[in-house]
């Protein structure tokens, strides 16, 4: 029996809970399609074994990655990684991709997440999988322990809000600028206890990388899931990865709690001031703010196209002696692609420091931690106080173009001086 028309989140949860009909607020038990764990795998596996369970529910559906602190910056981290490797071996986990890069990037670029799937991860940026039409959510380690043992998780069905993206983005305006604008306009809790759908003509023409950027920041809007319709763009992206997948979208006539129309035509490059991703202005308003570090990294904006934009901005130019540019590719594959395209060479010639792929400086672990009083412009997702190091450091969030432009001048500046590319 068919139930009422469902949003994308509703469809995923109806299928995974085996229910014909669902309403927001319903409390369900859902079957998990993919479970992703980074370093937190050690805690989860140990908790699970403490509960007397020696097997994960399906070793083929569990993916373990080392990304937050890889390569290990300290002996203690190395011991943590040692524990993870040993538990991966003991539990026979099929997909151990420990040294490949940031979890969300690796799962998507390898086609390990598919439209309509329910994916949980021990990382809040698991909303990223929504770029492929999957329902991705971050969960804590105790929740994940339960998932590892049973393959199931209790969930409350979220209401869905939809952002209809209309208009024509101007030159130099990227997906990051759009999602920062949304955070600034609607607030960092607009998605609290809700799923988000990004739709409309602009969403439809966005490439996969831009969709990943926006879905990734869904958690910065407070959302449980942040999803794009899986369409021909998605199918083509997955086909390149050897995965055949059809479309996946909301049922016609489904109910949204709210629909917000966002006209991107008047948008200029955006920037989030310390200490909240919702504290957003136009980059031009911050013109001249001195930066000690420019950081191009994270699951939000460190893919090959992001590095290519930075390389375009920096080609034939130099990083200002007043600042430093740290580039941390999102994955080994990204680093390889950027090496082959020449972007890495251009960035190195300009004076950038290229680090090993991974989360790097974004959560303040290593490879670019900030001192008190320092200012960083960053292509990442969070500028919470203390996130990238000292609580007395200041982090500004912006697009890769804005990060690269600031690296040239040692100061925040409108990137359109250097780059007038169109959103892809």
């Amino acid at each position: 029996m068919a139930g009422s028309p469902q949003t994308m989140a509703g469809k995923v949860l109806a299928r995974t809970s085996g229910r014909d009909d669902l309403s927001p607020g319903d409390f369900i038990t859902a079957r998990i399609d993919v479970a992703m764990l980074h370093e937190a795998f050690a805690i989860c596996a140990i908790q699970m074994k403490a509960a007397g369970i020696e097997k994960v529910w399906d070793p083929d559906k569990v993916i373990v990655i080392l990304d937050h602190f890889f390569p290990a910056p300290s002996e203690r981290h190395a011991q943590g990684h040692q524990a993870v490797r040993s538990l991966v071996e003991q539990l026979g986990i099929t997909h151990f991709l420990g040294h490949e890069g940031i979890c969300h990037q690796v799962l998507t670029e390898r086609g390990l997440v598919r439209p309509g799937e329910l994916v949980v991860g021990t990382d809040s940026h698991s909303t990223t999988y929504g770029a492929l039409g999957a329902a991705g959510a971050g969960i804590g380690t105790t929740d994940m322990t339960y998932v590892l043992a049973t393959g199931e998780l209790w969930m409350q069905v979220p209401a869905t809000i939809r952002f209809e993206l209309i208009g024509e983005p101007g030159p130099g305006v990227t997906a990051k600028d759009i999602v920062l604008h949304i955070a600034g306009t609607y607030g960092v809790d607009v998605g609290q206890y809700r799923a988000i759908e990004f739709g409309g003509p602009v969403a439809a023409r966005l490439g996969q990388s831009s969709r990943l950027t926006m879905a990734n920041m869904g958690t910065e809007l407070g959302a449980k899931f942040a999803m794009f319709e899986a369409d021909a763009v998605t199918s083509a992206y997955l086909a390149e990865r050897g995965v055949t997948a059809g479309g996946f979208g909301p049922d016609p006539g489904c109910e949204y709690e709210a629909v917000y129309e966002v006209d991107v035509s008047p948008l200029t490059p955006q920037i989030a001031l310390p200490h909240s991703p919702g504290n957003v202005r136009s980059v031009a308003e911050l013109e001249g703010t001195k930066v000690d570090q420019a950081f191009l990294g994270s699951c939000t904006n460190a893919r090959a196209d992001d590095l290519a934009i930075a390389a375009e901005v920096l080609r034939g130019r130099r990083v200002s002696p007043d600042t430093r540019l740290i580039v941390t590719p999102a994955s080994r594959q990204v680093a390889l692609d950027a090496a082959r395209s020449g972007a890495i060479e251009t960035l190195l010639e300009a004076g950038a420091s290229i680090t090993a792929p991974g989360c790097g400086a974004c959560p303040g672990g290593h490879n670019g931690v900030l001192a008190g009083g320092e200012v960083c412009i960053s292509s990442t997702n969070r500028n919470f106080r203390g996130r990238m190091g000292s609580p007395d450091a200041e982090v500004y969030l912006a697009s890769p173009a804005s990060v690269a432009a600031a690296a040239i001048e040692g100061r925040i500046t409108d990137p359109r001086k250097y780059w007038k590319g169109r959103i892809q």
């Binding site: 140990i46 097997k55 969960i139 804590g140 929740d143 672990g365 969070r382 919470f384």
Partner: protein, 204 residues
Amino acid sequence: MSRAANLETIERVSGRACALHGDDIDTDRIIPARFLRAITFDGLGDHAFADDRAQAKGDHPLDAERFDGARVLVVGHNFGCGSSREHAPQALMRRGFAAFVGGSFAEIFAGNCTMLGLPCATLADADLDALMDSVEVDPEQEVTVDVEARTVTSRAGTVDAHFAEGPRAQLLDGSWNATAVLLEAGDAIESTAARLPYVRDFSD
């Protein structure tokens, strides 16, 4: 799923309260990332709000003598936004907090609290302001977060509190404790798993 009688249920939490003002208090403030390196949660209580407390130089509510021994943390809106790190509620729990009352809670934080048996009660703004004021003026008083009755009681009165229905049911029937549920259900899971060919193929 079995609902064994020995699962711990949480009907209400009573104790002194601590008032922590401010909206959008994120997980990096609750427990800075540099404390996440451990593979267990031991000792995290010492580091709760480490950076905020260092900056406040002893003037942070968590260091205030008047809030010593508080079991209920009263907070603003969107408390716990940001990371999915369970270290955030773990750190607060290990510091002695057993319940939270606020304007609203970030979803992953609230979910993690449920798994630890820590109720999150949401109050209307006026009631929250009155509770904050009351706790500031009279920190000695006992505040009760009543999951069963859906209320919060202080000297400011007894007011209606909202608890998400699923988590509330889990607190009341004891199924919030996933580890205990797993222990109870262990045999059942094993036997279920043994029947599933895709699991069998991967074991031994």
